[in-house]
Symmetry: C2
Subunit: 498 residues, 2 copies
């Protein structure tokens, strides 16, 4: 199969019109029934055809006894029957015109048994006759623009975005899809390919490299097939778009676990990490770093950010900020005297500092003063970005001191978002928000609520939000890393005498 036709099949699989869901029981928590109900809850744009040999009805829809009994051609199928029945089901989908299928079932090569390998071979035979497969042992595709969803995703966002996420692990893909919803990451697609008997990392990377709706690519990888092809594709993709990769199983024990999870070879840390450096890949250690990097790459202008103005307060702010910045190649330059003089009157007394970090000392500094501090700080040309830390959790103490029942109404989250957004527009220097929460008791849900509202207001204005200062600086540095290395790479291409 050539790449072109692969692209077309993948395009159909990510945006199908007629989808068979094979293995839908009328009750219980089975995968087939779960994904059908999820597709309905997501208001999938196309038509759905549940299939189960026992027939019957579900949620007012006919359950077809066979794929063949569906009264029209299909273009995609979700297969969730026991492994032994999957090859036959896949063949029926092919005969029914499907461009591809996602196979949720497990029980193939990853079992390490003869039976599993034989079933895997039978799948590969059907694929060879002309149908593309995601999986087996995957969670499927989440495609917000058409409402295709993965397992268990009845409540993912329908709002499309420019992040593509490709994952060998189903759990990682559904976790990131859920995180994206509140964290402000919107997806062109999330694709879980599990054991990857057919469609795998290299082809998906090619697809999203060329996909005009995709601006950033994230990947969770365990192993790789055809390493040379992957390396070349990765280097080319990263020239066009930032690629963030979380590689699981870099330890020895992790490598052994990879073999049993997705039946693929892990490879050594040194090989992977050299490849990442050579291809200008942003490496994420876990799903938290992955999501932080994707968010920053989506929301921040693509530039190098070296100097940060840190505006906020909290435990050992200056020391922690300096430690974190140095580790990431950033600096927190003490502001020029003239600028400090302009900031000082905007700060409460005592305990504040206009040096940088600008310690606002008191958690209740007015949004307008925050705005004015940002505008002053950005006059220092060494400042490339503002990092605003708001200790909203202290509003709990304020509420207690004032004898109020709840912090709601005390936190000026909309005014704060407007103020920060206004300063970003006025200065042309972006901002990120950090809202740590050290108060997460069962009695403090009101603080959590106020923080979530705050997050939403900032995200709506295009300002990324993080839980911790270290996470914010890491995310900012990912943008710099991609831009900086890419520029240097451009420089490298000028011929130099030898």
């Amino acid at each position: 199969m050539n790449v072109r036709s692969g692209h077309e099949a993948l395009r159909t699989m990510l945006n199908p019109k007629r989808v068979a869901v094979i293995g839908v029981s009328r009750e219980g928590f089975g995968f087939g029934r779960g994904i059908l109900l999820s597709l309905m809850a997501m208001k999938f744009d196309g038509e759905l055809f549940p299939v189960n040999p026992r027939g019957g009805e579900i949620a007012g829809m006919t359950i077809y006894e066979t794929v063949d009994a569906i009264p029209c051609p299909i273009d995609f199928a979700v297969i969730a029957v026991p492994a032994s029945q999957v090859p036959q089901a896949l063949e029926e989908c092919r005969l029914k015109g499907a461009a591809g299928a996602e196979i949720l079932s497990s029980g193939f090569d990853e079992t390490g048994t003869d039976e599993g390998r034989i079933l895997g071979d039978r799948l590969r035979e059907v694929v060879g006759r002309g149908i593309r497969v995601l999986g087996p042992n995957c969670f499927g595709v989440y495609s917000p623009s058409c409402g295709l969803t993965m397992l268990p995703g009845p409540d993912l966002s329908r709002e499309p975005g420019n992040v593509a996420f490709v994952s060998q692990s189903g759990g990682m893909s559904i976790d990131l899809a859920h995180m994206g919803k509140w964290k402000g990451i919107r997806f062109s697609a999330v694709v879980s390919f599990g054991n990857g008997i057919d469609v795998r990392e290299t082809e998906l990377l090619e697809y999203f490299r060329d996909d005009p709706a995709t601006g950033v690519i994230g990947m969770y990888m365990e192993g790789v097939e055809r390493g040379g092809d992957f390396f070349r594709t990765l280097r080319g993709a990263s020239e066009k778009k930032p690629v963030v990769i979380c590689k699981g199983g870099l330890s020895e024990a992790g490598g052994r676990a990879v073999a049993s999870h997705t039946a693929s070879m892990g490879g050594s840390r040194v090989i992977w990490e050299s490849m990442f450096r050579q291809c200008n890949i942003i490496q994420a250690k876990n799903i938290g770093e992955l999501s932080d990097a994707l968010l920053a790459l989506t929301m921040l202008p693509r530039r190098s950010y070296r100097g940060a103005a840190i505006i906020g307060g909290g435990g050992a702010l200056g020391v922690a900020a300096a430690d974190a910045a140095e580790a990431l190649g950033m600096v927190i330059p003490p502001l020029e005297e003239g600028i400090r003089d302009a900031i000082d009157p905007l700060l409460p007394r005592p305990g504040s500092s206009s040096r940088n970090p600008i310690d606002i000392a008191n958690p209740y500094v007015s949004p307008d003063n925050i705005r004015r501090i940002m505008i002053e700080a950005s006059r220092d040309e060494r400042i490339d970005i503002h990092v605003i830390i708001q200790l909203l959790y202290h509003y709990g103490a304020l509420a207690a001191t004032l004898g109020r029942d709840s912090v709601k109404g005390l936190v000026p989250f909309r005014e704060l978002a407007d103020a920060v957004s206004g300063a970003v527009s006025a200065t042309g220097k972006p901002a990120v928000l950090v809202i740590p929460n050290f108060k997460r008791g069962a009695e403090a849900l009101d603080i959590e609520e106020a923080m979530r509202e705050t997050r939403r207001e900032f995200l709506a204005r295009g300002i990324p939000v993080f839980d911790e200062l270290e996470e914010a600086l890491f995310a900012v540095s990912c943008v710099s890393l991609w831009c900086g290395r890419r520029m240097r790479r451009g420089g490298d291409s000028v011929p130099t005498p030898r």
Copy 2:
């Protein structure tokens, strides 16, 4: 002043009966007024005497115009007046019989100005006449047993515990005090000593080493005075009780920030880290690690935990667990065949695994099956501890699928806590719970609520709870580290021929 009398003064300062709060304005958000209202909100056990030259009343109490006007001796004072007035206020407290005072005000040596240094010298003169001082530039003392609280802490827990926390940073101490409340860390005391003009790290460490109410000591440090004394005290303290230290400013830039934060010398990374190793200190990189370590050291039996049974699910569970365990010197041994055979019938199909990690595949496995899986797994003698991962956030999808408005009532948190606790009792092998939340949208507060209830139920049964698997394994490894090195140290003391 000899150590003995120092101990007595400190004992009074952490458990005072009559406290003057100096610098209480009738309105606004000043430190003095804030701490007075906080002490009242905390129902401080002793008597409070607000002081302000303007006099008047606050919350039904007389504001005394001078310390001398207080109609009885005092034993402790909170000083929150401008720096220039602090030496005089401290002298008045000394004359009024106070054993010590905490000085919240800043504006002394840390300013780097002549004026600041002169004020610092004047403070030291008063101290020399016989009163002990915490601060200046600190947040004070939180002492749950008597209700003494720090700034801004009107809503900290009154339940005492066995963790002492000593911090150069006020922000770090109040953040950890708040975290402890919901995280399950209960304190004998939290002491912020700021610039540490008098009482400092070494003396506080001696005090808590000898304090029968303290079983674990946490410290946030930036710099140190009299390094040799500190080293010797630290080594002795760590022989008796685990000591966890977060050292801020280990980077070069961080070291410079230390100088301006608490006017102390930071020292190099290599010196600090060798000292930690030589003294068997548990090192925490940030407040998150610090709190995780303290929690585990409080709740888990003090043993070495090498082999973990991981029971749960989630993104690339096995791979992530293996990577994390290896980095911490732990193992996740594949269970013996006979044990796997006993576990298999307790697992749902498909996608589960009894290997270890025991992948329960489906987030809705019954509490009783979790209990039985734990009992089976612990029959493998290589298993020292159970790590239970519950993906409670998936109950949101379940609620959506079932058409319910809320997850409340769906999550069997009490049954789960009983089941895990029952298995711990039955096997004598402890457990920790991990409840990651990938669903933190404004619309998903019900999930947050269910997770907080779950946390509370587990903590009430003495089972520590963490957000992420990596954090849980780190915390467990801290207990092993202290116990293991201590045992080896004991071995070293046996004379060996040379």
